[in-house]
């Protein structure tokens, strides 16, 4: 082999990589030179490395929706832009507060409740009467918390228009929708205990759906308010009410679903119901004031437990 041929062969490899011709001999697109080839290879390597990093980071964020807070408690506040959600295409008014299973509760004093409102049916109406009686006697109970409570109130009928026959609570002597009263009060905390008058009629799904609608209305009326859902409380079973449509099985099913709903929406969930159950999961006899009636209303002893629980579960 001649030296000129040898010399030609040493650069052949690189030339073959970068040089191309059309079969007809055209030289369009021909790239020549070792340095160019190296540049292309380096570019390809960098691209692969970069793409791998982006893909890996995306996987990390999808699998880890929560990030630790300063106190080590996980919250759902810090969802990154790379997290995919198929249900958040519309703007919602839900806040992003920690739930019962994640939040660290703290003991609070009366001031904590000053701008709170308690929404509920006759069970909460009883609480409002108990608190009113204590306040009238000079005791400070639940700060200046206000009550929007009414017998027979439910998530469902709270959504209806106000009428002579509706059971909306009154606020300062005027019957009005919950959201209208909340719009006047502008509370920073909204405690809700409903469901007893819902689940036997509308089932678990229907109750959750109505709850979602009502809570959205409340948040529109008082943006930024903390929503605190209290579990629907149990029923004392007696001969007179054993065949009623409302039973503890339905209540328990509702509570499970309501807890999941609260966690999904970022609301706080307080399991007050567990404070009043007997060994059979019903309302303990010492806490029931209407054992021969509906079996759902509380004694003063139950109200004391309830109030104590509220003081110990501030968020």
């Amino acid at each position: 082999m001649r030296n000129s041929e040898k010399k030609d062969n040493s650069g052949t490899f690189f030339k073959n990589i970068v040089k191309f011709k059309r079969m007809n001999g055209s030289t369009t697109g021909k790239i020549k030179g070792k340095s160019t080839a190296l540049l292309l290879i380096a570019t390809a390597v960098v691209t692969v490395i970069f793409g791998t990093c982006v893909f890996a980071l995306g996987n990390y964020n999808r699998n880890n929706k929560s990030l630790p807070t300063e106190n080590g408690v996980l919250t759902t506040d810090n969802v990154t832009e790379t997290t995919q959600s198929s249900e958040t295409t519309e703007e919602t008014t839900s806040n992003t507060e920690p739930t019962d299973s994640e939040v660290v509760f703290k003991e609070v004093d009366n001031d904590y409740f000053d701008n709170a409102v308690f929404i509920g049916d006759s069970i909460s109406y009883g609480l409002s009467l108990y608190v009113t009686e204590k306040r009238a006697a000079g005791e400070e109970v639940l700060g200046n918390a206000q009550f929007l409570t009414s017998g027979s109130l439910s998530y469902a009928n709270a959504l209806w228009d106000v009428s002579d026959s509706s059971v909306h609570p009154t606020y300062n002597g005027e019957k009005m929708k919950l959201e209208d009263a909340v719009a006047q009060i502008k509370p920073d905390k909204i405690y809700i205990l409903l469901g007893t008058n819902d689940v036997a009629i509308y089932g678990v799904e229907g109750t959750i759906s109505n709850a979602d609608q009502q809570i959205n209305r409340l948040l529109e009326a008082s943006p930024g308010a903390k929503i605190i859902i209290q579990s629907t409380t149990p029923k004392y079973i007696s001969e007179s009410n054993a065949d009623d449509d409302l039973n503890n099985e339905k209540i328990d099913q509702l509570d499970v679903a309501m807890k999941a709903f609260a966690e999904e929406k970022g609301y706080v969930y307080l399991d007050i119901a567990s404070q009043f159950k007997d060994e059979n999961g019903g309302l303990a006899s010492e806490y029931c004031s209407d054992q021969e009636g509906m079996g759902i209303h509380f004694t003063p002893a139950a109200y004391d437990i309830w109030i104590d629980y509220l003081y110990k579960h501030g968020v």
């Binding site: 006759s122 009238a136 300062n172 002597g173 509906m294």
Partner: protein, 156 residues
């Protein structure tokens, strides 16, 4: 015959329209004495909570500035609807406001209880809001008649 019929019709109209007016007897009632006697004489009332100015606003929406005097009791048992309120309005305008607020309270109590406490709803139905001049009262109680007697007995 025609004259007789005219007389009958006139009597009917007089009877009907007289019910629409607030015939003031001119009497003054001792509201505080009434309240004290009600609590002393009626067992159920002795277990009820006396309403203060804050409760008057939160439960009734009645502004203390609109009343000359009042006495009220509420039941703190959520399964009992017993309630007492006697108020003297400052003037006719306040009277209309107070009467409307008490009526709202009455209507709400009935609407809330008619489904889940039918016996209590019946008790509410049997009681009524009454007025005399600028005085308005409501006794929701099985002892409503006795309470009214006590009030009327204080009249001057």
């Amino acid at each position: 015959m025609k004259k007789f019929l005219c007389a009958v019709v006139s009597m009917v109209f007089i009877f009907v329209f007289s019910g629409c007016s607030n015939n003031y007897s001119g009497k003054k009632y001792d509201i505080q004495k009434t309240g004290t006697e009600i609590v002393a004489q009626i067992e159920s009332a002795s277990h009820m909570t006396q309403v203060n100015d804050d409760i008057l606003m939160s439960f009734y929406g009645i502004d203390k500035a609109d009343v000359n005097d009042y006495f009220a009791l509420i039941s703190t048992d959520s399964t009992k609807q017993d309630e007492v309120i006697i108020a003297e309005a400052k003037d006719s305008q306040s009277f209309e406001k107070i009467k409307e607020k008490i009526q709202t309270r009455y209507d709400s109590k009935y609407a809330q209880t008619k489904d889940y406490l039918p016996e209590e709803a019946k008790l509410i139905e049997e009681c009524k809001i009454e007025t005399d001049g600028n005085y308005v009262w409501m006794f929701i109680s099985a002892d409503a008649e006795k309470m009214k007697e006590i009030l009327l007995s204080t009249a001057e």
